[in-house]
């Protein structure tokens, strides 16, 4: 009888602990798990099509930094998990995917690796949700320069059109003087970035060289396969110089096709997006003497840390980094630093930490080789902008001249005033 009673007591106890365990598991475990769960970063990007190198090299730049962070134990044992989505460069898809990343995947932060048109769509999604967003690719100035588009929770770690325009224009102005390049044409992709970049370049160039004349402009569609009709225009107009902000496969096709017409023997090409390894190495016969901004090359800035970044990336991914790789690597480094500093994933706290933050960087040309997240418009400054001319083989660039950040910021201010943005 006693045995029977103690058996019942044991059974009751087991049931009690069982219920308690179940209840704890259903309420308590998730809380614990959440405390121990990974930090989730959502990455809308484009991984297919003619500019897939953008998404691939951008996400590689992030992985390079994240893996180091995770290997070192993460943040209090919490590791960073990347959730990457391919929007195929469609703004509506980018917006939908960003919404899904925030609502379904419950990501803590968005690292936006979309091109400009889709970045504006992402901006509107994160404005509504209040999620912290680091734009790593879009160079269209208005994304952060225009106060009506800017938002407190978005930071640009990509180079900015206006900065490049000033750097390009001041480099081009020297050559205008030296070589008498009076007649100019342009060819740019027909979307926000192309229009913005071209207009700003000429606006600033005219400040340095008021006598230049624009004799024609070509606006092929993004990803257009054939540029013959624009090239024949260039041949007809015989410009002294051509400005182009085509990029990736589009720029490769344009240069390959224009070279058949001997275009670059008569006209100087200023292709702002040329000096990236993947672009230069894809051109069949890269002509010598084309002018470009240094998007990313190991030779500029000519420092060991930069060469180290190049070799670490190359040995991990089997290819050189691109401009997009350094941008995402810098963004990720800033993000990790802000999380560690604030010990929080709260967007407001991280935002405050990012504002005005300076970090030593392989790409930095600020004091002590730093780049800075400028607080007033939440955009990166003091990254390396150089201009030089191409060589057909490695190191691909020669005579690189550094852009002066003081005059960049001075002319940027004038430009912002002219736009009514300050």
């Amino acid at each position: 009888m006693k045995n029977k009673k103690s058996y019942r007591t044991l059974r009751r106890k087991l049931m009690k602990y069982g219920f308690a365990g179940t209840a704890y598991a259903s309420i308590g475990f998730p809380t614990l798990l959440k405390a121990e769960s990974n930090i989730k970063i959502g990455i809308p990007t484009l991984l297919s099509g003619r500019v897939a190198q953008l998404g691939i090299s951008a996400t590689n730049g992030i992985k390079l930094i994240i893996d180091k962070f995770n290997e070192a134990g993460g943040f209090n044992g919490r590791k960073i998990e990347l959730i990457i989505r391919d929007s195929r460069a469609k703004p509506d898809e980018a917006a939908r995917m960003t919404r899904n990343l925030i609502n379904s995947n419950k990501v803590d932060i968005i690292l936006n690796c979309e091109a400009s048109s889709a970045s504006f769509a992402v901006q509107e999604v994160i404005r509504e949700s209040g999620t912290l967003c680091l734009h790593c690719i879009s160079e269209t100035s208005s994304l952060t320069a225009d106060p009506s588009i800017r938002t407190w929770n978005a930071f640009r770690f990509a180079r900015q059109g206006i900065h490049d325009a000033v750097g390009s224009a001041s480099y081009a102005a020297n050559l205008v003087k030296e070589k008498g390049l009076k007649k100019w044409m342009s060819i740019g992709p027909d979307y926000a970035y192309g229009r913005d970049s071209t207009a700003t370049f000429f606006e600033i160039l005219k400040k340095f060289s008021p006598n230049i004349e624009i004799v024609g402009q070509g606006w092929p569609k993004l990803f257009q396969p054939d540029y013959t009709e624009v090239i024949t225009q260039i041949v007809r107009q015989k410009p002294d110089a051509i400005y182009s902000c085509l990029w990736g496969g589009d720029l490769v096709s344009f240069i390959d096709q224009a070279a058949l017409y001997g275009t670059f023997k008569n006209s100087e090409l200023f292709a702002i997006n040329l000096a990236d390894y993947t672009t230069m190495s894809a051109i069949k016969n890269l002509p010598e003497g084309l002018h470009s901004a240094t998007r990313y090359i190991a030779a500029y800035p000519d420092r060991q840390e930069n060469r180290d970044f190049d070799s670490a990336y190359t040995s991990r991914f089997g290819d050189h980094p691109t401009n997009w790789s350094w941008e995402t690597a810098v963004a990720t480094d800033f993000l990790i630093s802000a999380i560690q500093e604030t010990k929080s994933l709260n967007p407001k706290n991280i935002s405050e930490s990012l504002k005005g933050k300076s970090r030593q960087s392989f790409i930095g040309v600020g004091e002590g080789n730093t780049v800075t997240m400028r607080s007033k418009d939440q955009t990166l400054v003091n990254y390396a902008i150089g201009w030089g001319s191409t060589l057909p083989k490695e190191p691909y660039m020669k005579d690189i001249k550094a852009a002066d950040w003081e005059s960049i910021q001075e002319l940027e201010k004038e430009w912002l005033t002219s736009k009514g943005w300050i």
Partner: protein, 300 residues
Amino acid sequence: MEVLALLDCLSAPACLLSQAVGGLKIGMLLFLVASGLTLIFGVLGIINFAHGILYMLGAYFAWQAMELTGHFGLSVLIGAIGVGIFGLAFERGLIKRVYESNLLIQILLCYAVILIVDDLVMIIWGDEFLSSIGVPEIFQVPPLFIFDAVIPPFHLAIIFTSLLIAILLWMLMTRSRFGSLVRAAAINPKMLEALGINTNFIRYSVFVLGSFLAGLGGALAASERSIVSQMGNSILIESFIVTVIGGMGSIGGAFLASLIIGMARSFGAVAMPLFTDGLMFLIMVLVLILRPRGIMGEKK
């Protein structure tokens, strides 16, 4: 609209010739692809929405062959023949099953094939664009100057090759027994069957020929265009415009319409640089209004 610029161009031999050769090159490459599309429609009654992938595969096959052989001509040929073989498998394996089906089923099948092939291409050759296969060494020379017009010799080679193909195609369709059978099959396939002719053979031969032409267009285009999955999408739209303007099923019409589109793009860039794409559609709309069956389409 810059009418004065267009008049200037038309009255200056250098500009006229330069734009005309540019337009011919665009038009002739387009003809290769569009002629296959119109041929398949004319004989098989199938609107091959997957025609763009044949163009894309031609470029990829030629690129792969170039990597292996380093020979331009051989690579282009391998590209075209490879797509012809793919076309045979496509027709025998899938298309023949939907000849009698309604248009919706045909579109669904083609769309499925587009998605599958696009993804397969990315799996095999990667997501990133591939650089062009380049022009043959013999054409890596300075451009020609004819009446001050700048003309790349390679473009002349593309134009002459495409013209040669057009003439051969015309002879095949009008001067050979095969051509007679194809035309007969387009009009009354049941009568041909009653006469003991193997219409199946005609069907897949036409599909293979159409695929070969699209593959050849892709392989030649790969000489100066970067290669990427989905590259067939834009050429497919242009090919449909050509087919509508020229007349569904008319090879001669496709030839004429390709020239019109090529010239519209080239001279349109002088007169309406911001409206060159719109110009193509405008021409199509005008043709549809004034002559709904197309310039050389037959009345049904």
